[in-house]
Amino acid sequence: MNKVKFELKDVSLERPDCNSTGKRPTAIILNRINTVFLQGQITAVMGPSGAGKSSLLRLLNRLEDPGTGSITLDGANLKDLNIFTLRRRVGMVWQLPTLFPGTVAANISYGPRLRGIPPVAAATMARKLIQTVGLTAELLDRPAASLSIGQQQRVSLARTLANEPEVLLLDEPTSALDPTAAANILHLMADLRSRLGLTIIFVTHLPEQARQVADRVLLLSHGEIIESGPALQFFTAPRDPRSRLFLNGQLEG
């Protein structure tokens, strides 16, 4: 049995309501979420648009804090951890690469340089990581903006890996990519889990991707967990009727 990496207890998140017609000043984004993420597992977070998938991820590296409830990482409350250490341990990659201006090498070295790792050592790390994500070292001196979007996404993954994270949060990491580039990222995820033992939580709107790489599926709708369990069971025998609707592409947001 894998040990518990993240544990969420009664986690709720409210935000100021954007649409002015709402009677309430705040909208409930996540409602009393209780779940755990196990070390070394790949979890696919799915659900209709606006379900709260991105918001859930943002709580795990404290880009936002929940209104109520508690989140622990290896048993320690996130609020008791140093915020910078936490964010290095829990890396995040978004749908769009959003590389910084500058070279590929500078992008990958960003985290190490923040930590005060000397330029030479950081450059060595970048050289190693660019290969880890399946690109060649020749790209290192290129301006990041000159790469294809698929290459950029791998660079953004390498940039996050440069912090040597224990957990990877990926928010629709393949949505902006063509099928080949998307397949590459998925392989990379499976590879990182098996080689480095990373815990991976990724948001996807493609059940196919979850079927391919996920150990576990978490289905969200309207800020609540509809179903959470082993991927195999979710796809072959979903327990909740809404899960069946979702798999048929019929669950509305």
């Binding site: 880009l63 964010r87 890396g91 959003t98 201006p101 923040l114 940039r159």
Partner: protein, 265 residues
């Protein structure tokens, strides 16, 4: 010294010919500006006359506390103006502007009055009032420009800022490229003015001194000091303003706050 021509009430009335020319053009070309032009002309007259009398009073009484009062009013008006020019406003922003213009302005003013010109006593209105006016005016424009740019940059680059935060950057580290861009944007007009001053345009103060009878050679020396003074005031004010303002956009835990609502795009 050359003859200084005093402007009498009749001469001012004659200057109305100039207003007439402007009005005529507006009417002729259907610019639809004549209403604003009339109001503007009247306002300019009243405001300047009022300030003239007020300054005359301060000059005649020559008291340090009156000078200080005038400086405080200048600062408040400038901070209010810089605040109103913002596309995105939040309550504390007025005080950010006040702090920035206050610190940048007073430090520069102190250097000019006490170190460069060695004015004695320091509160001689003839020096401190016009110098403070130029400093505060430029500091105000700089602060308004810098903070406007900074909020625009934050709005446009939320993604990149959160990426940096997620990689372990502090709020300050995440914002630094945008802070630099804002400072550069706010400093640029001052720097380009320094490049062309005297060649393309004669600064108002120098023109005024020359008309008032000062020799051009003496007037340029003042203008050189004033040019450096304005650059320093702008630099100090914009850096204080941006370094204070950016904090509002983050929580103490280095989280980027959600975008403000109800602000003009």
């Amino acid at each position: 010294m050359l003859q200084y021509i005093d402007i009498g009430p009749g001469d001012i009335a004659l200057a109305l010919v100039l207003v007439g020319i402007t009005l005529a053009i507006s009417l002729w070309q259907h610019l639809d500006l004549h209403g604003d032009l009339l109001v503007g002309s009247v306002r300019a007259f009243i405001q300047l006359m009022a300030v003239g009398y007020l300054l005359q009073l301060i000059f005649n009484l020559n008291r340090w506390y009156l000078v200080v009062l005038a400086l405080v009013i200048m600062l408040l008006v400038a901070a209010g103006n810089a605040y109103r020019r913002q596309q995105e406003r939040w309550p504390q922003l007025f005080f950010v502007m006040l702090l920035a213009i206050g610190c940048g302005g007073l430090l520069t003013l102190t250097i000019v009055i006490a170190v460069v010109l060695k004015v004695k006593p320091w509160y001689q209105p003839q020096y401190i009032i016009p110098l403070a006016g130029m400093i505060v005016g430029n500091a105000m424009v700089g602060a308004a420009l810098a903070v406007n740019r900074l909020t625009g940059e934050i709005k446009a680059h939320r993604d990149a800022i959160e990426v940096a935060l997620a990689l372990g950057a502090t709020a300050r580290q995440a914002i630094i490229p945008y802070l630099r861009a804002s400072l550069r944007a706010a400093m640029l007009p001052t720097v380009s003015t320094m490049m062309t001053v005297g060649i393309v345009q004669l600064p108002g103060m120098m023109t005024g001194q020359i008309i008032a009878g000062a020799s051009p050679a003496a007037a340029v020396k003042y203008q050189i000091v004033v040019t450096y003074m304005i650059a320093a005031a702008t630099a100090l004010t914009t850096i204080t303003a941006t370094l204070t303002a950016y904090r509002y956009y983050f929580t103490p835990n280095h989280q980027l706050k959600p975008p403000l609502k109800n602000t003009a795009a």
